[in-house]
């Protein structure tokens, strides 16, 4: 480990992912536009994806038996993307409907769970 070019300390990635995640949270907390909030959630999902990929590369790949080690983690990322795509389609449909009903995408108007 730590040899040569081909390695980065894992905690760099962790800190990067945490920073992206926190930026997403701050976005959710400070913005009122439902679409922006939604985008921040996507950002948070991506930070998690990045972290998963980084972790999947944590094992040394020199060992022949471990060439495919970390595949699981990357497939997990793949499935997260699948779910995110489905989520976005439904979520955007909801936002469109909300806009049609109340002519706004301000989440502060969504405080009653009815209409």
């Amino acid at each position: 480990m730590g040899e040569s070019e081909g390695a980065m300390p894992i905690n760099y990635y962790i800190v990067l992912a945490l920073a992206l995640f926190t930026i997403g949270i701050v976005g959710v907390l400070t913005r009122r536009n439902a679409i922006i909030v939604f985008m921040c959630i996507e950002l948070m999902l991506n930070s998690v994806n990045l972290l998963l990929v980084a972790f999947s590369k944590m094992q040394p790949a020199k060992d022949a038996a471990l060439t495919v080690a970390g595949t699981d983690g990357q497939l997990f990322v793949f499935f997260i993307m699948v779910v995110a795509a489905a989520e976005v389609s439904v979520g955007l449909a909801i936002i469109v409907m909300m806009y049609r009903n109340i002519h706004s995408v301000d989440i502060n108007f969504l405080n009653r769970l009815k209409h």
Partner: protein, 165 residues
């Protein structure tokens, strides 16, 4: 400091900057574009980590499909003007402060963990190659894969039903 490290730092800075721009732009369209940029930087990180398949998929699905969907919605509803009323300033400050605290605490917690001493292999290994992933996906993970297609179907139906009302 080799080329990998230099690229890592460039990509990191770009990712953070575009992420911040996502939440600070007044215009939603700009936000979307900055988010696409952020996704591109993340895809760059994937390539650095030799996760080629994910890098491509990230660009196609996220930057290509999902973000275009966002853009469509914004354009269709004519939201590209910065019409958003300002949130309570105190609430904004509280949001930023608490987010900063969270980052601080998480990073501090990381300091004491064992995992932070490990290294991530860059540019090596076959795990991220399409061949390896494809074999795994269609053998071990074939059932979740098929189930995810049902998920897509239901999401599609749901979106159509909700959007038609």
């Amino acid at each position: 400091m080799g080329i990998t490290q230099i690229l890592f730092w460039i990509l990191t800075v770009a990712a953070l900057f575009s992420a911040i721009m996502v939440i600070s732009s007044k215009n939603p369209v700009h936000s979307v574009l900055w988010l696409v940029a952020a996704f591109f930087t993340i895809s760059g990180h994937y390539i650095l980590l030799n996760a080629q398949f994910l890098a491509i998929v990230n660009i196609i699905v996220y930057a290509g499909a999902i973000m275009v969907l966002f853009l469509f919605v914004i354009m269709l509803m004519n939201l590209n003007k910065s019409t958003e009323p300002l949130k309570n300033r105190w609430l904004q400050i509280v949001g930023i402060v608490s987010g900063g605290c969270l980052l601080l605490v998480l990073v501090a917690a990381l300091k004491n963990t064992e995992v932070s001493k490990n290294m991530a292999e860059m540019g090596t290994g076959e795990a991220g190659l399409i061949k390896t992933l494809g074999r795994e996906l269609f053998t071990t993970f074939v059932v979740p894969f098929e189930i995810s297609s049902i998920l897509f179907l239901s999401a599609m139906v749901g979106a159509v039903v909700i959007g038609k009302k």
